[in-house]
Symmetry: C2
Subunit: 233 residues, 2 copies
Amino acid sequence: MSTETTIYLNLRQRLTSGGFPHGEKLRPEILRKEFNCSANTIREALLRLSTVGLVEFQEQRGFRVPELSDSLQHELTHMRILLECEGACLSIRQGGVAWEARLSAAHHKLSHIESRVRLSGGEVGPLITLWSTAEQEFHETLIDGCGLDVLRQTHLVVYHRFRQQLITSDREFIYIPENIEQHKMILDAALDRDEDAVRERIQDHLSRNLMHPLPIATASKKPLAKSIANLAT
Amino acid sequence: MSTETTIYLNLRQRLTSGGFPHGEKLRPEILRKEFNCSANTIREALLRLSTVGLVEFQEQRGFRVPELSDSLQHELTHMRILLECEGACLSIRQGGVAWEARLSAAHHKLSHIESRVRLSGGEVGPLITLWSTAEQEFHETLIDGCGLDVLRQTHLVVYHRFRQQLITSDREFIYIPENIEQHKMILDAALDRDEDAVRERIQDHLSRNLMHPLPIATASKKPLAKSIANLAT
DNA sequence: TATTTGCAAAATCTCAAAATTTCAGGAATG
DNA sequence: CATTCCTGAAATTTTGAGATTTTGCAAATA
């Protein structure tokens, strides 16, 4: 038996890792049998997922996995750049050594997996889950020292949708060498406390899979919230 | 009788306009009678509201209106500055005359209501609903020409939570004259296409009620997404 | 007096079925 | 031939009740 929140998390995991084809209808009756629960419980989970954009909901017409969309992919990338640049710069200012250590650790794990992928000739295969998790953890840690819960929560929502959009287009898994190099460069810039370099490298890294490069409005100098973090104690 | 989405929207409206005291428990049984529907339908609406942060949900312990929190207030203000600055600068670049016209119109309405408030000696009273709506519309229009749906959606979620936090502390309704002046200055800077001025004035305006002023990381030069908007056609 | 224990009342969560709405395809109409 | 209308089937949404868990409060203990 599964509780409502368990089902919500399980479905979210599958939606962000290619468990459902884009555009597919999500029928409560089917999922009900799979989770061995009531149709109502499924409905509650799907409604929650719809408020964060991972499923589309239409009254009296049920639930659907969002279609692939280049423009949505671009929008989500734009949002990631905006949020990760801000979060990373604030982390540099306020995260302290503890944050630097966490980021180093996250990069080390990611780098290890990336190497294994490269050694197997770019074949991701069974490492894909490990890699996905490590990459998400690196990017989350990057903004983890900023002291702003809302920023982290918002980023996570955006990131999930980004992953959902990326998953079958599998562009993510093309430029392995560049990927490894870019993660390293972001780490170095962060440890150097060089905010401008961090911004630039995050932007390069995130827009690497887009058809058209992105001119950025927010690549700027001063982050926003030293005083906020002090308050948030 | 009410449908699920109707209930969701109705509750959201009340949650963002002081309809429930902070920290109050939201009992499905009570709401059930009010909407004349089943407890389950209420539960679905409350679960959805919990995913956007307007109600807190704990398993087996029901639903609660979030408590007032200075640090949350600061975080939400920070997010608003980040999103509105980016959205406004992109709008300046891509909104065209149509956007400028919409912004002018929104400001005109807001300005009219603000004047009426000032004339009645700062007593907001029955105008509060009109004023709230007009202010929200102005700030939404400000970022409305940016061409990024995700940015608008994200901003709306943040804005709702901001309003919920602000509502009973009613600091919003203190500095009427400054408020009027600040809206005008944002409008002027936008029509002048002066991005730096827009950023600065948005930041001043949004942080006006905070105890401590906010140093900003993202107050920068170049927005991000000309190419995105072109794609999004 | 302060803390813990136990029980009853109330609330939450899940379920299966009824009520409502949409969908697909064939017949009737222009 | 294209369009509209109808009808049965399938899917969605709501309901009310049962099972489980939490909460409030008084009694007991230290």
